[in-house]
């Protein structure tokens, strides 16, 4: 295997709730190669965000707890680090962008102040250096009159501009990895296109590796090199972006693609819908978590949870059924 920048192995995260323990992430393993953009796709509650938050030590504990797993970053296990150590990795070496740019920014501090803080904290810049760098960063993400706009407050920025500020903040300490959790979901399509274009440009210029979490397969098709699809806290399919869209092999991936109308569609047939709804796992599943909604499900699917197995080079699927033939794999 080529050198992995981030190597996650067997991650399991649980949450204690009044109704019982929710098994949010159930043994997730994947790696991020240098310079690549990895798309993590799934619906709400599939564990995609919790996986990344676990790796970064951002799971509120209690009620959450990372119960097993390793996450190697430059030879060090992020999950074994002390709070102080992981805090230094976060922000300095791994940058993050979240979905909602309004709640991620502090409304009573100026944009400049919020950009300068990590620079002084993590790299030890002086106030003056930090101010200059903050203006550079705003220019980098395409905000005009950057110097003047440093004194503005978040409410004076539009949604798209706030998300640009979040990206500038995540990039401020030149991280090796950028983790973007649904960064364009709250934005309009024309603004989403602007942000995706910006991230692609920065990826070239700065040579970052990116983990892009989203529920939108269209967005993934436009930005990722490789994709993992999650369901019920498991990775159920992993492939290069072209392979995934050309040969989707897990019934859930097939269902997701089928349920999307396309803006370039010609036929106006009925949409393919997946019956039922995503599971909340109060027990660690012993069967395939997708079996209740799967039209291919057979006896074995109800008894044993399939492992992620390769079906071709770099394409892995967790399913007992070969969806091309409908027979046992």
């Amino acid at each position: 295997m080529p050198d992995l920048l981030l190597d996650i192995k067997g991650l399991e995260t649980q949450f204690k709730t009044p109704d019982g323990i929710v098994h949010a992430v159930n043994g997730v393993s994947f790696g991020l190669k240098e310079g690549e953009t990895l798309g993590v796709v799934g619906e709400s509650g599939c564990g995609k965000s919790v996986t990344m938050l676990s790796v970064l030590g951002l799971i509120p504990s209690p009620p959450g707890k990372v119960v097993a797993g390793e996450a190697f970053f430059f030879g060090q296990d992020l999950l074994k680090m002390s709070k102080e150590e992981i805090r230094h990795v976060r922000g300095a070496q791994i940058g993050m962008v979240f979905q909602d740019p309004m709640t991620s920014l502090n409304p009573v501090l100026t944009i400049g102040r919020q950009l300068e803080e990590p620079l002084m904290l993590h790299i030890g810049m002086t106030k003056h250096q930090a101010q200059e760098r903050a203006a550079e960063l705003l220019t980098l993400v395409g905000i005009p009159n950057a110097k003047d706009r440093l004194n503005d407050y978040p409410h004076q920025y539009s949604g798209g501009m706030r998300q640009r500020v979040m990206i500038a903040m995540a990039l401020s300490c030149s991280p090796q990895i950028l983790i973007a959790d649904e960064p364009t979901t709250a934005l309009d399509v024309t603004i989403q296109a602007q942000i995706m274009e910006l991230v692609k440009r920065l990826r070239e210029e700065l040579g970052m590796s990116i983990i892009w979490i989203t529920h939108d397969l269209g967005v993934v098709a436009g930005i990722a090199h490789r994709v993992v699809v999650m369901y019920g806290g498991f990775i159920i399919e992993e492939a290069s972006v072209n392979d995934l869209f050309a040969n989707p092999s897990h019934p859930y991936t097939l269902g997701l693609l089928g349920s999307l109308p396309r803006v370039d569609e010609i036929e106006h047939g009925r949409l393919f819908s997946i019956d039922g709804q995503p599971p909340v796992l109060y027990q660690k599943p012993t069967a395939c978590p997708f079996a209740p909604r799967c039209k291919w499900a057979m006896e074995k699917c109800w008894k044993e949870n399939p492992m992620l197995e390769p079906i071709s080079n770099e394409h892995r699927v967790a399913c007992w059924v070969d969806t091309k033939t409908g027979r046992n794999r």
């Binding site: 602007q194 939108d216 967005v219 269902g255 803006v263 949409l271 393919f272 997946i274």
Partner: protein
């Protein structure tokens, strides 16, 4: 009632304007107005679905609400089945509302958490005094079956249902008075991808069964293309382009429609890479002080001097294809 398409106009909106006043100062003098809808005209034929798309803040939801007279329009006419709703008295309008219903965006906020499902679906019938208690009860059970919910769940409360199921409850409520026209205000944008297809398929089935007419408001252009017969594109309170679905998506005339369509991600990396993207600069201007002339000129890649001087007419360029742009010949 026939189930096939007729050419009869059910709803005609003429030069509709909705300005929300802004009051300032101690004396609360009117200091300006939000030009949410600023001169919108279109027709909806019986049995068809008209899609109304645009980015957030473009006035699409306000248009829907103003048609239902939930806001008193500043100017313009809304002619429904030959009657001008704007001129109706309150009591007459209340009676007319039996024929015009609405499905809301947020399935969490639009259902009263203290009412059972049976009470929620029965409420419109109680308000309009339709039928005896027993008849209403039977009708509720029938309505729940129509939207594929188990009538045995009628005594449960909304929090016991998932987002998709709640949206079905909202649809059952909208159908309770056997309306002929339903304003669907972003009915699927709060739902997960695999659930969206379920709800859209249901809406299509019901339309066929009851010869319903929909105004389908959404920001998701792919879904609008799937469900609508004709599509209107709004920007900053004005309709920029209106045409037959395939016509609009194949040969959009307006530069805004072109940019909007090119910004939508396609779940297909090969097709996505081949597309020509028009990335719009900047953000949507404020509707308090909209640009002079053409509303889109500040972001338009081909704007000329004339665009700032006068507002373009909304004219028919090819049969059934309306555009508001000076530069389209």
């Amino acid at each position: 009632m026939s189930t096939q398409d007729t050419n009869e106009t059910l709803l005609k909106v003429e030069d509709l304007k909705m300005h929300f006043p802004i009051y300032r100062g101690v004396l609360q003098r009117q200091a300006g107005a939000v030009h949410a809808v600023d001169g919108v005209s279109f027709e909806v034929k019986r049995g068809e679905t008209l899609g109304l798309v645009g980015e957030s803040g473009c006035g699409k939801s306000t248009t829907g609400r103003t048609i239902l007279q939930l806001y008193k329009p500043t100017a313009g006419n809304v002619i429904f089945d030959g009657v001008d709703l704007v001129a109706l008295k309150k009591e007459e309008m209340r009676k007319t509302r039996r024929k015009i219903q609405m499905i809301f965006q947020d399935p969490y906020a639009s259902l009263n958490p203290r009412m059972t499902v049976a009470d929620i679906v029965a409420e419109p019938m109680m308000v309009h005094n339709v039928g005896t208690g027993k008849e209403i009860q039977e009708r509720v059970a029938h309505l729940l079956e129509l939207v594929n919910l188990n009538p045995a769940f009628a005594s449960r409360y909304p929090h016991e249902f998932s987002g998709g199921q709640r949206q079905r409850i909202g649809i059952a409520r909208a159908l309770a008075l056997q309306p002929s026209f339903i304003v669907c205000d972003e009915p699927i944008s709060a739902l997960d991808v695999s659930i969206q297809a379920q709800v859209v398929n249901l809406l299509e089935d019901l339309q066929e069964q009851f010869n319903l007419t929909y105004l389908f408001i959404a920001h998701d252009l792919s879904m609008v293309r799937h469900i609508s017969k004709r599509v209107a594109v709004m920007y900053l309170g004005v309709i920029m382009e209106l045409a037959d679905r395939d016509d609009l998506y194949h040969s959009p005339f307006h530069p805004y429609t072109q940019a909007l369509l090119s910004a939508i991600p396609i779940p297909d990396p090969v097709a996505d890479a081949k597309r020509r993207r028009v990335i719009l600069e900047g953000d949507v201007p404020s509707p308090v002080n909209p640009p002079s002339g053409c509303r889109f000129r500040t972001r338009c890649p081909i704007a000329e001097k004339v665009c700032a001087e006068s507002r373009p007419d909304f004219r028919e360029v090819t049969p059934g294809h309306f555009v508001a742009c000076h530069l389209v010949k």
